[in-house]
């Protein structure tokens, strides 16, 4: 990242900011279907203007710039209070793995459509009985001729009910150690035998689904990488997901805190308790900011997944939960009244963001799993 001259990045940032101001980000509807449609159009708009796949190769439909450009654009998008494109799972999680491990054909056929939003991707990793212990997954794929036949169940699959494609982890060899028998399939969601069921979260959102697979036929050519070697790709995928998500989440939180400060200023409150809450939020943000400078360095150096990622994840959890608990704590009794503006704060927004923050220590590897990784792999404590 240090290879990109600062002036170039500054100019790129200025262009992005100017474009975003000119185009005017869309309003995001509450209704789930309407939201999906708006955000898909937004992805197309971004794609057409050349803002997606910034670090991807030209063949993949990208711009052949750097990670640094990508990070700058993410920052500007968030700062402009613009929504993310709908196909984020594809853009940040699955795409980089296909780009790295895919065949030329897979890259050529799948990646440009992923970028443009023509294909929306989802991610079929977790299962009801395989959460923290992902490698114990039980969805089976058996090769019959040139097709895998897949049966099983996935959960926490965002937008599965709207997606065209799914990155699916399956067990192709049940006879070996659990990580060893896993393969990574690219599955057309219109295949017969797939049904989805949205799950409602306590935030009211419903973008997560259960996915049921019943004798689903997947062409052998849709295997990513080699059979039974899907776990390495999974680690790569989860690594991309984590660093990308951490960096984006940092900016989102920074913007959230700015918004909250603006609302509190308009509320005109004069109370040490409010000041202390703002102070604590600011400290938590600066801690996260300092930590993500290290993440950025690692991304630029392309070190790949390391146990240090778990430290990042724990720091992010704590910052996210601190900032949003502090802000939501200022809603007082009017937290229960979404239309209220206690101390100037929008009750509905902060109650929602606060609830959402509780998931931070669960998804993408629970805090418990991260602590074990830090203790054993980073500090060398004996395995229990």
């Amino acid at each position: 990242m240090s290879t990109v001259p600062t002036e170039e990045l500054d100019a790129f940032r200025a262009r992005a900011r100017e474009w975003l101001a000119a185009v005017g980000p869309p309003e995001v509807p509450l209704d789930l279907d309407a939201r999906f449609a708006v955000l898909r159009r937004w992805q197309r708009t971004l794609f057409d203007a050349g803002w997606l796949g910034l670090s991807w190769s030209k063949e993949a439909g990208g711009q052949a710039l750097t990670h640094a450009h990508q990070l700058v654009f993410v920052e500007e998008l968030v700062r402009a209070r613009a929504p993310q494109p709908i196909g984020l799972i594809g853009l940040e999680v699955v795409g980089p793995s296909i780009d790295r491990y895919g065949t030329d054909e897979q890259r050529r056929d799948l990646l440009p459509r992923m970028l443009s939003g023509a294909d929306i991707w989802c991610q079929g990793f977790s299962e009801p009985e395989a959460g923290s212990d992902l490698a114990s997954l039980r969805t089976r794929a058996v090769l019959h001729g040139d097709h895998y036949v897949v049966t099983g169940q996935k959960i926490w699959t965002s937008w599965a009910h709207e997606a065209q494609w799914c990155a699916l982890l399956v067990r192709t060899d049940p006879s070996v150690r659990k990580q060893a028998g896993i393969s990574y399939l690219l599955v057309d969601m219109s295949s017969p035998g797939i049904t989805t069921r949205p799950i409602r979260q306590m935030t009211g959102d419903r973008e997560f689904c259960e996915v049921f697979l019943d004798d689903v036929r997947v062409p052998r050519s849709n295997l990513l990488g080699r059979e039974n070697e899907g776990w390495a790709i999974t680690s790569h995928t989860l690594g991309s997901e984590r660093s990308g998500a951490t960096l984006r989440r940092r900016v989102e939180l920074e913007v959230a805190l700015e918004d909250a400060l603006g609302q509190l200023r308009s509320g005109g409150i004069d109370d040490d308790r409010v000041r202390a809450a703002v102070g604590r939020s600011h400290i938590a943000m600066r801690v996260l900011d300092a930590q993500t400078r290290r993440t950025t360095d690692r991304l630029a150096a392309d070190t790949g997944p390391t146990p240090v990622d778990s430290v990042d994840k724990l720091v992010l959890n704590e910052a996210e939960q601190t900032v949003l608990a502090e802000i939501a704590g200022l809603l007082g009794p009017l937290r229960a009244v979404p239309g209220a503006r206690p101390l100037g704060l929008r009750s509905d927004r902060w109650a929602h963001e606060h609830l959402y923050s509780r998931a931070a220590s669960i998804y993408g590897g629970s805090a418990q799993v991260q602590r074990t990784i830090v203790a054993e792999r980073l500090l060398g404590l004996p395995r229990g």
Binding site: S136, W156, R200, M202, L334, R335, A336, A351, R358, I362
Partner: protein
């Protein structure tokens, strides 16, 4: 308190038998359901602490504590506080004859957010002002209005009263905005102690309800971690999980004991002491319930984050009740102020 446990036990028994399977469906529909309110009225739950001469059982208000603990633990929705406590506390307020509750129109729910909540002013028998959030005002057939040191009874149909239902984020409660424009109060009770009693009993019973929410979360979590397997064994056999659950249980138990001790002392306490007892219980209950519910969700993993799990409902109720009649920090400041202003009483 031991002699009052019978009411809590009876309520627990009924709810376990005939509320558990309707719980999610009812909660999905919001806080108000006339049929449910009538059902509880028929069971006599609302009249426990109502004086005998008004047709109640006349048990001490403290006996409602274990009952509210069960309401929390079973995630009961509806105007339980309004139906059970107001007729017991306000002379002249007859118990409900139908499902509709009285509502408590009180700007004194909070200190720090007082400007956001509104005020009521009284000149003689006339009332003016607004309270931005009142529980169950749109369903109420009587309004109990706190205006300064007076408690006034107002028929919601009185000219000048406007009640506007609001969207709410407490799955067990309906809210409305109440505005008085030169409203004639039916009855005016000039009684500063009654204002203290109203607010203190609201705090005490909400503390019990929060304590029940915490208890329910602990119970679900113990069941979950004993059953749920990861890495080839129940997650409850992992020491870090055990210790978290042990802390949840310890905090929840200590909170219950605090609530029961406060109730035991409350019936005979003079107003200043009653206020201290109630603020203490409510402050601690709010903190503990929210924290225990957060740990419960953490240990339930993704499923705890969905509306299909009870723990998500416990948590949302705890968050909504946390700030009602004092969020923990403002109550801590208030307690400290009272204690520091006191003349030292011990030799």
């Amino acid at each position: 308190m031991a002699d009052h446990d019978e009411y809590g036990a009876a309520v627990d028994d009924y709810l376990g038998r005939s509320y558990a399977e309707r719980r999610h469906e009812l909660l999905e529909r919001g806080g108000w359901d006339p049929a449910l309110a009538s059902e509880f009225a028929d069971l006599g739950w609302y009249s426990l602490a109502v004086p005998e001469e008004q047709g109640g059982l006349g048990v001490p208000l403290a006996a409602l504590g274990p009952v509210f603990l069960q309401y929390g633990r079973h995630l009961v929705r509806g105007p339980m506080l309004e139906h059970s406590a107001l007729p017991a506390l306000v002379p002249g307020l007859a118990p409900a004859t139908g499902a509709r509750p009285p509502a408590l129109v009180d700007p004194g729910v909070t200190d720090l957010w007082a400007d956001d909540l509104g005020t009521i002013t009284r000149r003689g028998p006339r009332l003016d002002g607004t309270v931005e959030a009142v529980r169950f005002a749109a369903q109420a057939d009587r309004l109990v209005v706190v205006a300064g040191a007076a408690v006034c009874l107002v028929d919601p149909a009185t000219r000048g009263v406007s009640i506007e239902p609001l969207a709410g984020a407490d799955p067990g409660v309906e809210f409305a905005r109440v505005e008085f424009d030169d409203v004639e109060a039916g009855t005016v009770l000039q009684d500063e102690d009654m204002v203290v009693r109203l607010r203190s009993w609201a705090r005490l019973l909400l503390a019990c309800e929060l304590s029940g929410l915490a208890r329910g979360s602990v119970e679900r979590t113990v069941e979950h971690v004993a059953r749920r397997e990861q890495f080839g064994r129940p997650i409850g056999s992992f020491q870090a999980v055990k210790h978290l659950v042990a802390d949840m249980h310890t905090r929840s138990t200590a909170l219950e004991n605090l609530c029961l001790a406060a109730l035991g002392d409350a019936d005979t306490a003079p107003p200043t002491e009653l206020d201290l007892l109630a603020c203490t219980a409510k402050a601690h209950a709010s903190d503990v319930a929210v924290r225990v519910c957060e740990d419960a969700i953490q240990l339930h993993g993704g499923m705890g984050f969905t509306t299909e799990s009870d723990v998500s409902w416990f948590y949302r109720r705890a968050l909504a009740l946390r700030g009602w009649y004092g969020d923990p920090t403002e109550l801590q400041v208030r307690l400290g102020a009272t204690l520091l202003d006191r003349i030292e009483e011990h030799a």
